[in-house]
């Protein structure tokens, strides 16, 4: 199952390559890069020496957070929220460094993963709010970004409690519930590939972002 999940990441770059030339936005490219990088990383992780796995896991959390956050950074338009994302990301990375240098953990870096999940959920909620406020003439599910957000939500929702509690589970339970997170991960990869397809099928709709400034028209 582990390798199926690992190779499922390749669906994203494959879809990207098949539809190449028609994708002008940054987001599909970021998704394709994410698929290649994480597939390679997961395969390498299985063969990596045990003493560096702790760092690999922390780096995985960091990389995953960075990719997802960058995608929402590109999709969200409100400047204040973008600054908030930068600030929260800075705090998150600082916390991760503190965590990896000061804490020992049995299996996974549960607390940074928990914080990552909560932050990403906040970004997704805001993204949905902004999207539904700005776009009224396009069905939300015809927009590629909707499927990215849903994919991330299913993945985070399906794995949040597992990663939070993983250090207090026995091996049988980890194997049993691990499969559930694998399913969520495969669904996420499929939805990412679908989002690239949606991007091609329904080219990006420009969300109007205007508010005019009326010049001086006083009675002088």
């Amino acid at each position: 199952m582990y390798y199926i999940v690992s190779y499922s990441y390749l669906i994203i770059p494959l879809c990207f390559l098949l539809l190449r030339g028609k994708l002008k936005d940054k987001v599909p490219t970021v998704l394709a890069l994410y698929g290649i990088l994480f597939c390679g990383w997961l395969i390498y992780y299985k063969t990596s020496p045990k003493d560096i796995r702790k760092y690999l896991q922390v780096f995985y959390t960091f990389l995953e957070y960075s990719f997802f956050t960058y995608i929402f950074w590109l999709l969200i338009r409100n400047k204040a929220v973008k600054i908030f994302i930068l600030f929260a990301s800075f705090l998150f990375i600082a916390f991760q460094i503190f965590f990896v240098t000061s804490t020992t953990f049995k299996r996974l870096d549960s607390i940074p993963i928990g914080i990552e999940t909560i932050l990403l959920f906040v970004y997704i909620f805001y993204f949905f709010y902004e999207f539904s406020k700005q776009t009224k003439d396009v069905f939300i599910y015809n927009h590629f970004s909707f499927w990215i957000a849903v994919g991330i939500m299913i993945y985070l929702g399906g794995s949040f409690f597992f990663y939070i509690l993983i250090n207090s589970l026995n091996q049988d339970e980890v194997d049993k519930f691990g499969n559930l997170t694998y399913v969520a991960e495969i669904i996420k990869n499929l939805l990412f590939a679908l989002s690239i397809y949606m991007y091609k099928r329904y080219p990006v709709n420009n969300i109007p972002n205007h508010r005019k400034n009326i010049p001086n028209l006083d009675m002088i």
């Binding site: 539904s132 949040f160 409690f161 509690l165 001086n216």
Partner: protein
């Protein structure tokens, strides 16, 4: 051992329920967003439908206005120019019949007077159709002329200030803007009972702005929209259709001080037009 088992079992229960809960939350949120958007879209469609209806009404109003204008023109020509020219013809006819030099001169003089009056009449009709100041000197001068005439009457103090009108709008656009201003001023004079009217112009980015202030009774945006949808307010409907033609916007509001009413017109500028 029992305690350990109990703890473990509660952890797995929490994990199971938590995961299910998160997934339900995710699906719930997605469904909510889709349903909400569909509702918004249905509302949007309704609005579009209403907009189409309103456009139809505006089109009807514009046709009606055109017909009225034609009728007025026909009446002016038939009732004023027609009899004048017929009278001139009579005088000239008399010239052919009457051989007396004095009478002939008198009738030629009378005919010339009548022809002069007719020329003036036709000039007035033509000025009504297309003000020469607007055609020759542009919107600023035409509005200035209009305001001077209003101020000249002595009842209303009308003034205007153009902040930045180096780049003139295209003549078609100027005419449409002028007609809107004329209609607004007519309405103000007819209904508002105001003592002053002030017009200000400015530009910002790629937009041209005009604002009219007056201190009488006025309307706000909701009134304008209501009147636009109703069967009355033909003039306002014409303003609406002209604004639509210009791809601009119009905003009726009351000043913060609650003393003045203001109407702001926003029109997209095109490439500079040199007169």
């Amino acid at each position: 051992m029992f305690l350990l088992q109990a703890t473990n079992s509660s952890t797995t229960t929490a994990l199971f329920l938590g995961t299910i809960g998160m997934l339900v939350l995710t699906i719930g949120l997605v469904v909510f967003i889709i349903m909400h958007q569909r509702r918004v879209q249905r509302f949007q469609q309704k609005l579009q439908q209403m907009e189409i209806e309103q456009q139809k009404m505006m089109l009807n109003a514009s046709i009606k206005m055109q017909e009225e204008e034609r009728q007025r023109l026909a009446a002016d020509l038939h009732d004023d120019a027609g009899p004048l020219l017929a009278t001139a013809r009579l005088y000239l006819n008399e010239n052919l019949v009457n051989q007396d030099k004095v009478n002939q001169l008198q009738s030629i003089f009378q005919a010339r007077q009548i022809i002069d009056d007719t020329i003036q009449l036709i000039r007035n009709i033509s000025h009504d159709l297309m003000p020469p100041t607007l055609k020759n000197f542009g919107l600023e001068s035409a509005i200035n002329d209009l305001f001077q005439k209003i101020s000249g009457s002595g009842t209303v103090n009308a003034s205007q200030r153009f902040h930045d009108y180096k780049d003139r709008l295209k003549p078609e656009k100027e005419l449409l803007v002028f007609r809107i201003v004329q209609e607004l001023i007519n309405n103000i004079l007819k209904h508002s009972n105001s003592s002053f009217i002030h017009l200000t112009q400015n530009v910002h980015a790629d937009k041209f702005y005009l604002r009219i202030h007056h201190d009488g009774r006025g309307i706000v945006q909701s009134d304008f929209e209501k009147l636009n949808k109703s069967n009355i307010g033909l003039g306002l409907k014409n303003i609406g259709s002209r604004i639509r033609l210009l791809q601009g916007e119009i905003l009726f509001e009351k000043d913060i001080s609650q003393t003045y009413y203001k109407v702001t017109i926003e029109v997209p500028k095109d490439e500079p037009y040199s007169s």
